[in-house]
Each structure stands twice: as C-alpha cells, then as structure tokens.
C-alpha cells in the first residue's frame, strides 16, 4: 500500500508550496468549502453602497492610530509644571494628561500626525455613519429582514458619538474640560439622583482628580470593544442577508445582480480603503485639528470664546443653547427643566429615527421580505418623514453654532436663537409637506414618461403647420424601473358593525394605524402607476405626441 502511494506521489512530483500550505490549513480549518461558498458571492454595485465602506475603513484607521496613541498618553490628572520644548507653555501648570498630549504633539515621532489622523478619522467616521444611515433610510433598506441590522448600525452611530466625546475629553485641555463641566451640569439637572450621579462619576466634586483615568478605559477599551462586536455582527448580517439592490431590469427579490467578491469586489474595496486612508491622512497633514497647545490646559475659572464641540455633538449643543432657562422650585426642591429637557430630547429625537423601521412595519402591516430597494419618491411619506427629521437635526446644528453664525454673519444672537426655537417646530412640518409634494410630483413625471415617452427636445413641424415636440418611447428597461414598484392598499379596519348589526370593538390603536396607513398608501398619497391597459391604449395605433 505504501509503495503504491509513494509511487503516485513520485510520478506527480511534490505539490507547490502554496498548495501544501493551503491543504494544511484546509485540513484544520475547512477553508476550501468556506472559500467555495463565499469567494464568488455576488455584490451589487452602486455609489451609495460605498458609504458603509467609508465607515468601516475610518473605524480601522481610528483603531490603528488609537493604539499608537495609547503608547504615549498618560491618563492622569496629577498636576505638573510643563518644562518641555514648547516655549509658550513652559512653567504652566497642567495635568499629566495634557502634558502627555503636548509631548505626543511635539516630541513623539509622527505623534502629531497620528493624533490628527485619529481625530479627523473620528469626524469622518461619524459623518460616514450619518450619511450611510440616511441612504439606508431613504431606500427602505431597513425593511424585513434587515431591521436588526439597522438597529446595530444605529447603535454604532450612537456609541460612536459617545466614544468621540470621551476621546475629545481625554487631553484635559480648556475646551474639553469645559465640555466635561457641561456634563456635570447635565448630571446635576437630573431630578432626585442628580447630585449623587455627579459625585459618583467625578469621584467627588467637579473636576476632582479621577475623571480622566476613568474615561480612559471607557474610551480605549469598553466602547471600542462593544463597537467592534457590533461592527462584526453588522457585517456578518450583511453577508448573510445578501446586499440589497436598486430596482432594474433583471433584478428580482430572489436574485442578486452584481460582481463576485473575488477578485472584483475585493480589489475595489481594497483600493477604496487606501483612498479613504489617503484622504484622511492628507486632511490631517494639511488641516490642524484640536491644537491643544494654543487652547491651553483646563482651569475651571477660564474659558475661551467661540467654543464648539465636534460636529456630531452640535445637535445636542443646539438643544442646550436654545432651551429657555426654566427652573421650577417647590417644596424645597428644584427641577432644572432648562437643562433636563434638552438632554432627554437628545436621545429621544435620535431614537425616533432608530425605531422608525418598527413603526413603519406596524403601520403598513408589511411582513414580507424586501431585497429590492425603494426609490425614495415611491415612498413619499417615509421620505418626507426622513427629510423632516433631518431638518430638525440641521436646525439644531445651527443652534449649536449660534455664536459663530452671529459673529460671521453680523446677526443678533438673540434673533438666531429665536429663529432656531421656532424653526425646530415649524421647519420639519414645512419640510414634510414640501418633500411629499415633490415626491408625488416625481411620481407623476414617471407616469408621464411611461405613457408618453421622453421629451427629446426635437421640434417637428407637421404638414399642416402645427409644431409638436417629438417624444421618444422609453426603452423596455426604463419602463421596468419606473413601474416595478408595488402600490399596496391602506390598512382598513373594516365595517364598524358586524353582520348582526352589533357594534364591533375597535381598538384605539387600530384606528390610529388605519389613519396612519392612509397617510402612507391612501388616496392623494400615491399617484397610481400606469396600468398595462393605459399603456397599450396610448401606444397602440395612432402615432401620439
């Protein structure tokens, strides 16, 4: 037996080294069947699908640069006197955390660039998540089976904000210390337990000497650890559900049309990683961010003007700035509504979008799977809600920078604040109405194009002198894209009395659901798409215009 197998091996010669390594690994990890199943997995292509990739790559960049920073950063609030090479700070009292950040910036090789990349990547990461989330929202990609993955993504966005804020606080500079003082005020405003929470978190009175050392593990381990777990789960689910695709000829709920993972998609994605890294590195090399050496160390009795948090905190900042200073004092207690309401509103507004998929599926009662994306115009109410939400968000960003708006545009801070107070309520309503009308208008135009063709811009003179514009019928694929969407019927409660004339019990939630459902699918909220008969009637026989 041994002779024959030896003989066979001899005849074929030894397998190449690579193959032997692969065989070795396959025997232990089963990589062949994994590769066979996944290497040719198909991914559809669209520019908007790269937004999620931007998030992934900037997260990787953050981790890599963050690890480098941990080698040199000292998370301590012990006071020292600076004696390093940066002359303007010599002799200034500061915490060790601040000093080590100065050292990273001026003495560690590549330290400043890495710090800058870390901070810029954090900004890009959050901007990426925001836009990615909006893409998923407006295309309806969050519908079954992807609701859980939407939640994972939303949590990543939320935790990303917290992680960014804790990182921003670590260097213990004048700006970040001011931000932490704000957090103290937020804790204090919580009814009943506020002072206890504040004392607990700061380890005594503000600022104390513990906080930076406490924030540190939260920033470098706890939050990134949770986020890494969520991110992996997010990607596994994308793989498992398969990617959604935009509607088009040949695309169905049962197939995926696109390019294989290997080699095409991997090559593109790999290249794109370096593109993202390159852009962030270039930004970091060109544009200073958080120059703590000009800001100075934190002292609770000092502050600078024009103080701004990182952009993703602007929404919370806006709420806090424009809220009137309501304080209710009764029975020896104070309810600090002026601070408490904004910090409750902040997560509430965010969670309104986070929980939207579940609300929509309750209203529409749609329990089917969806793998073909919606064109936003074909879901006017959802699109309008999304735009209204974004309007509220951006109005508050303006509120968060009200001082900068005032100084840059020579406006009164009081009128900007009043504008924001009103626009926060009125703006979303107007945006909702306008968006819905635009969506319906676009639906009408689609219908028109299907029935009467595309305007060619060619003017033709008929024998009897009349001028007409020549319309060109759409190609079959375009017709498909414009008419593939479904138009469900709104949810009906049914008759109020049953066949015996007895009044049926109708729950209040049913009534609400039916009302909302009409807002989605009822008359005036959809433009009925052209029917086959309409199309044939118009296109058959007589040349039309």
């Amino acid at each position: 037996m041994s002779t024959t197998s030896d003989g066979a091996a001899q005849r074929r010669g030894k397998a190449p080294a690579g193959e032997r390594v692969a065989d070795w690994a396959d025997g232990r990890l089963g990589i062949y069947s994994l590769a066979k199943a996944n290497m040719r997995k198909i991914f559809p292509d669209h520019w908007s699908f790269m937004l999620g990739e931007v998030c992934l790559y900037s997260f990787i960049i953050i981790i890599l640069t963050g690890v480098y920073l941990t080698l040199f950063f000292h998370p301590s609030m012990a006071e020292v006197t600076y004696e390093g090479p940066y002359v303007p700070m010599q002799g200034v009292r500061m915490s060790e955390a601040f000093q080590s950040t100065l050292d990273i910036s001026f003495e560690v090789r590549g330290g400043l660039l890495i710090r800058q990349i870390h901070h810029w990547a954090a900004l890009v990461f959050l901007a990426g998540m925001f836009t990615h989330m909006m893409r998923v929202f407006f295309t309806g990609a969050f519908r079954k089976p992807r609701e859980i993955n939407w939640l994972f993504g939303f949590l990543l966005f939320f935790l990303g904000m917290l992680t960014g804020f804790t990182g921003y606080s670590l260097p213990d500079d004048l700006l970040s210390g001011t931000g932490l003082r704000f957090i103290e005020g937020v804790f204090l405003s919580i009814p009943v337990v506020g002072t206890y929470i504040s004392m607990f978190v700061f380890g005594g009175e503000f600022p104390g000497t513990d906080l930076i050392a406490r924030l540190y593990p939260v920033h470098v381990l706890l939050l990134p650890g949770i986020m890494l777990g969520l991110l992996v789960a997010h990607l596994i689910l994308v793989f498992y559900h398969k990617h959604t695709q935009y509607p088009g000829a040949g695309k169905t709920e049962k197939n995926v049309v696109g390019m294989p993972l290997l080699p095409v998609y991997m090559a593109k994605a790999g290249g794109f990683f370096f593109l993202v890294f390159g852009v962030i590195a270039a930004l970091s090399a060109i544009a200073t961010i958080n120059p703590i050496w000009t800001i100075g160390p934190y002292r609770p009795d000092q502050v600078s003007t024009g103080a701004q948090p990182d952009w993703y905190m602007g929404f919370a900042e806006g709420l806090v700035r424009v809220m009137p200073g309501w304080e209710i004092t009764a029975w020896g207690h104070t309810l600090v509504l002026g601070v408490f309401i904004p910090i409750v509103l902040f997560p509430l507004v965010l969670f309104a979008i986070g929980l939207y998929p579940f609300i929509e599926s309750w209203i529409t009662g749609d329990k089917r799977e969806h793998h073909i994306l919606d064109r936003p115009r074909n879901a006017p109410t959802r699109t309008a809600f999304g735009v209204a939400w974004m309007t509220a968000y951006f109005v508050m960003l303006v509120g968060g920078g009200n001082d900068l708006w005032a100084t840059h545009f020579h406006l009164s801070i009081n009128s900007i604040t009043w504008f924001v107070r009103i626009a926060f309520f009125v703006g979303p309503v107007l945006a909702f109405i306008a968006t819905k009308r635009i969506c319906l208008g676009l639906q009408r135009r689609d219908k028109d194009k299907v029935l009467h063709g595309r305007e060619t811009g060619i003017i033709k003179r008929l024998p009897h002198g009349e001028f007409i514009e020549v319309h060109e019928p759409l190609a079959q694929e375009q017709l498909h894209t414009l008419t593939q969407h479904e138009q469900p019927e709104p949810y009906e409660i049914g008759p109020e009395v049953d066949e015996n004339g007895v009044k049926r019990k109708i729950k209040r939630s049913q009534k609400l659901r039916s009302k909302l459902s009409k807002g989605y699918y009822g008359e005036n909220n959809v433009i009925p798409k052209p029917t086959r008969e309409e199309y044939h009637e118009i296109t058959s026989g007589h040349g039309h215009h």
Partner: protein, 125 residues
Amino acid sequence: MPEGMSEEQHDFQTEIAKAALMLVRLQPENIKDKRELDWSHEGIVAFSKICTHVGCPINLYEQQTHHVLCPCHQSTFDLSDGGRVIFGPAGHALPQLRIRANDQGYLEAMGDFSEPVGPAYWERG
C-alpha cells in the same frame, strides 16, 4: 483668590471651580437692585463667575450695558440688576458676594456666598 489658597494645593481645581469671581466697577447710581447696592462698595460689585446654567466661567463683559455673556451657551446676565438673567438658557441670577473695604482700603468679602454657586440641582430648593 480666597485667603490661603494657592495653585499648588491639591484641590485647587475643585476649589477654583466654585470660588471664581468677577469684580466690576459700576456707577452707584446705575445699580438698579437695592440689595446689590447694599452689598457693593462704592459701585464695585462682586459676582460669581460660574454660570448658573451649567457652570462655564463667564467672561464677556460689555461695559456700556453692564451685561455679561457666557461664551458657552450665551446666557446673558445684567450686572447692574442683581445679576438677573436677561437672555439664554440659564435659570437663575448669578449669586453676589457681599464686599466692603477694610481698614487698609483693601476689598474683602463679608462671608461666603449666601446661596450655592453654579448650576441648579434637585436639592438646591
């Protein structure tokens, strides 16, 4: 700085976070609030520098109007009217410190603030 306090002491940051003070000279006849006038010395008034919103140190004083503006969220206080809030998210007036001139002509505080400085909280009452 309160007597006996120094930058070197270990709880300096925590102390200064409460004790920071603004001293402003007004014309006594411009002071609208009666108690403020009583607690001042020849038009010199002392107010807590810690904003009653969420505790930023306030630093933008406008001489003509006697208004101070907090750079964090733009609460505006009228220092000629008992430190009253006239705009922005702060919920109550700035606490005033009662001062006088001692025998040698130095200003000195006649005790601590009569109410807690800084942001409001549940037990403040």
